[in-house]
């Protein structure tokens, strides 16, 4: 249990620094902004109380956001996916049980389900983030393209990281 808390704290700090120090500097023609930090909410153990998930999502979004002056945007998008997470998991993986109370990973759901889960959650996160940021229909198609491309890149990054650091024994 203590191990789990230490791991989660390290993940929180690690993802935050990776996002603000490295990934915020990545750009391609203004169309591609990879966001890696939602992974923290995606992998929280199933037994995490919902209020804690929501608070962690708000803290993570706020901290990532203050580096670019968009704390509210990041917090709103991340709190939303934290809120729908239990529903999505219940629909995608009915009957999954989380006996060992550790982080979610590729092994627990099987690769196909996990990829679906990441793609869906990242898309919803990016959809909310970019649409609220624009807050008008004037750049509709441009925003849609940005959402799609960024979702694909972010999901690829997240899946790659999950695959590389997936401890197959545990």
């Amino acid at each position: 249990m203590n191990n789990l808390i230490v791991r989660l704290v390290l993940r929180f700090i690690g993802y935050l620094l990776l996002q603000v120090l490295v990934l915020n500097n990545v750009e391609l023609n203004g169309l591609m902004n990879p966001y890696f930090y939602p992974l923290f909410i995606l992998v929280l153990p199933l037994r995490t109380p919902q209020w804690l998930t929501l608070c962690l999502a708000f803290a993570m979004g706020y901290l990532v956001g203050i580096f670019t002056g968009t704390a509210g945007l990041h917090a709103a998008a991340l709190v939303f996916i934290a809120f729908i997470r239990p529903t999505i998991i219940a629909v995608l993986f009915p009957g999954v049980n989380d006996e060992d109370n550790s982080e979610l990973n590729l092994g627990k759901f099987g690769p196909v389900n996990f990829i679906m889960y990441v793609l869906l959650m990242v898309f919803i996160h990016h959809f909310i983030f970019f649409s609220v940021q624009v807050w008008s229909f004037s750049l509709f198609f441009y925003t849609l393209l940005k959402i799609l491309i960024s979702s694909i890149i972010s999901s690829l990054l997240i899946l790659l990281a999950e695959y590389l650091f997936w401890n197959k024994k545990g």
Binding site: V20, Q50, W51, G69, V134
Partner: protein
């Protein structure tokens, strides 16, 4: 009463969700306004210290580019030295600028963090109240215009980048009068001008300069060049695409412009509005 209590506990996470989203919403509204706030100052101080450490490491990778741009600037400044002019011995000569009243002062600052991909981009500089920076001053770099100071904390300040949905720079192209250049969130290298009348002769490659109207930036500073211009059918104004001369993806040292005379201009202008 017990029913109410059990209702709240049953839907606690939902209420928490609504509360957090409202909190985030109020932050969004607050961040999109141009006004100063205590919350912003605290946030700037926190992020400023983290990014300053990181920028210190990162700046080593840009040393060559920084050296080049400083060398260019030195060369340009040398051109303005007295030694660079030839003086004639005529008894009458036209003196354009000799001991005139200084209109601008420059404070050099280092970029601590900078974004170019968002719809509204902000820049953080390592100078603040302690260095005399004030909100609403212009920021320039050796190659062009950078933005306008937004919030100021003790040792840092945040700058609304030129790459911001609400940014507006008063500029001059060729024979046009003052027109305004805006940025619409597509690309960090291009901005646009939409109010040049169609009778103004334009050429591709024309230089875009800051105008002397607003006092945010020194006049006649290069902003960019005309990349493309087109006239929509039935419109009286050109749509001009401007290639910015500032390289926002590689911004290291900038100057904050202290407009010494702007207070006078502002007070006169506000009097004009009152009447």
């Amino acid at each position: 009463m017990r029913n109410l209590f059990s209702f709240i506990t049953a839907y606690f996470s939902f209420f928490l969700f609504v509360f957090l989203e409202l909190l985030a919403g109020s932050l969004i509204v607050q961040e999109s306004s141009f006004h100063q706030s205590a919350y912003n100052n605290a946030a700037i101080n926190l992020t400023g210290n983290v990014m300053k450490t990181y920028a210190g490491v990162q700046s080593y990778f840009h040393l060559k580019a920084i050296n080049d741009s400083l060398a260019h600037e030195n060369a340009r400044l040398r051109e303005h030295q007295l030694d660079a002019y030839q003086f004639s011995s005529d008894s009458t000569k036209l003196v354009l600028d000799s001991l005139g009243r200084p209109a601008f002062k420059y404070i050099s600052a280092k970029v601590v963090s900078n974004t170019t991909t968002a719809l509204n981009n902000y820049i953080l500089l390592d100078k603040g109240k302690a260095d005399g920076i004030q909100s609403n001053w212009g920021v320039i770099c050796p190659n062009g215009v950078v933005g306008v100071v937004k919030d100021v904390s003790e040792h840092f300040c945040s700058v609304i980048s030129l790459l911001h949905n609400k940014s507006k720079v008063s500029v001059r192209v060729a024979k046009s009068n003052f027109v305004s250049m805006t940025w619409k969130g597509y690309n960090a290298s291009y901005a646009q001008i939409e109010d040049i009348a169609k009778h103004v002769p334009l050429k591709k490659g024309d230089t875009v300069y800051t105008s002397s109207e607003t006092w945010f930036y020194p006049p006649n500073l290069m902003v960019g060049t005309v990349d493309k211009f087109e006239l929509t059918e039935g419109s009286n104004f050109y749509f001009v695409k401007v290639k910015l001369s500032t390289d926002f993806s590689n911004l290291n040292f900038v100057y904050v412009v202290n407009p010494l005379l702007r207070n006078e201009v502002d007070s006169l202008q506000s009097k004009m509005k009152d009447e």
